[in-house]
Symmetry: C2
Subunit: 211 residues, 2 copies
């Protein structure tokens, strides 16, 4: 038989923490190893005794769950973090993902869904509610006007813009491409006109699709 998935729970509300622990520990193939009331407590111990999966509440007194993940993830990279929240609208999803969380589910998920999610997370997936998933997928969407704008650039101009994006100066680009600095400046000037911007940072932002 396979070894159980070891789980830790970080949740300030006594009742929820208890019921989560009982749910996980009672299910076949899972074992609830540790529970914590605060992020600070979790930080101390989880680094010492890593588990497979951590269920992390976001709204915690003191340090919040996202910050906790940010600090814990580098110290136990093999542990997977699942954020648990009551909101599914929030921008916090992205912060959580940046911090190193891999899953993001709603507290109101039915018990069997929660267990499924833990399993999926442990097996290499990234379970999240459908609205969250949609939000994430949508965040990649590049507005057609953005890519269209780049289409007006010539390949040479794109080449130069790409180097500007890396933080190179006129001179460096010129040396890189074996052309005169004035040529590069002319190109950049043309790029600005086409993209309707007036500085490197603005041009690079458009190029990289940042707003």
């Amino acid at each position: 038989m396979k070894t159980s998935i070891s789980v830790a729970i970080v949740e300030d509300k006594e009742a929820i923490r208890q019921s989560l622990a009982i749910l996980v520990d009672g299910a076949d193939g899972f074992v609830c190893r540790l529970t914590f009331e605060t992020a600070e407590d979790a930080l101390d111990q989880l680094a010492e005794e890593p588990v497979d999966v951590v269920l992390m509440d976001i709204d915690l007194p003191g340090m919040n769950g996202i910050e906790c993940v940010r600090q814990l993830k580098p110290r136990c990279p093999q542990t997977q973090f699942m954020m648990c929240t009551v909101y599914d609208e929030d921008e916090t999803v992205f912060d959580a993902l940046k911090a190193g969380a891999t899953a993001y589910i709603l507290k109101r998920s039915p018990p069997h869904k929660l267990l499924e999610a833990i399993t999926e997370l442990h097996e290499g997936g990234a379970p999240m509610s459908s609205t969250i998933a949609r939000k994430i997928a949508g965040s990649f969407h590049v507005s057609p006007t953005a890519t269209q704008e780049l289409d007006v650039l010539t390949s040479r101009e794109r080449e130069i813009l790409d180097r500007l994006a890396k933080g190179h100066s006129h001179k460096e680009v010129a040396n890189d491409l074996f052309v005169s600095p004035t040529t590069v400046r002319k190109h950049i000037f043309n790029i600005y006109e086409k993209l309707q911007v007036h500085s490197k940072v603005e041009a690079v932002n458009k190029y990289l699709g940042r707003k």
Copy 2:
């Protein structure tokens, strides 16, 4: 009773196209409205007769499925696009998402999974295979060193850096924050020292966590 989910299929291989069509059309609550052999054909008609969900093969002769989505999505924004592929390793996922696709599944998925995915997509989700989901979640992950570097900045410095990231000049930032331009320059200089960079673009790149 609810109206069925209308589906279109874009797939060059006859056999696959047929069996997909039969699967979808045969299932309760789905109707396969259109099928296409090439991206070009789909482009012509789908703009006229939008459907709820399009199953889009990526490897197509001529225009590929991603480019097809890119052109089609702006013209029928209410339509959801589900990419179908044999690979799940590829970087093409990100291109597909950027182009406007919302789901990304493997061709080898069992029939009932496919129908489930169509339903989920239509109801506001973003179904994708677990390895894909993991890859996407991971793409958000900011390396701890990157955030650590930003930690050495004071809140004022971050405030200024944030405005530089938007393409503002020294003067604009100064006006924004009601301080003298020389102060802003001093701050920027300090930022450069702390981040070990020598230009706006480099600083902004570090700030926004891209190399």
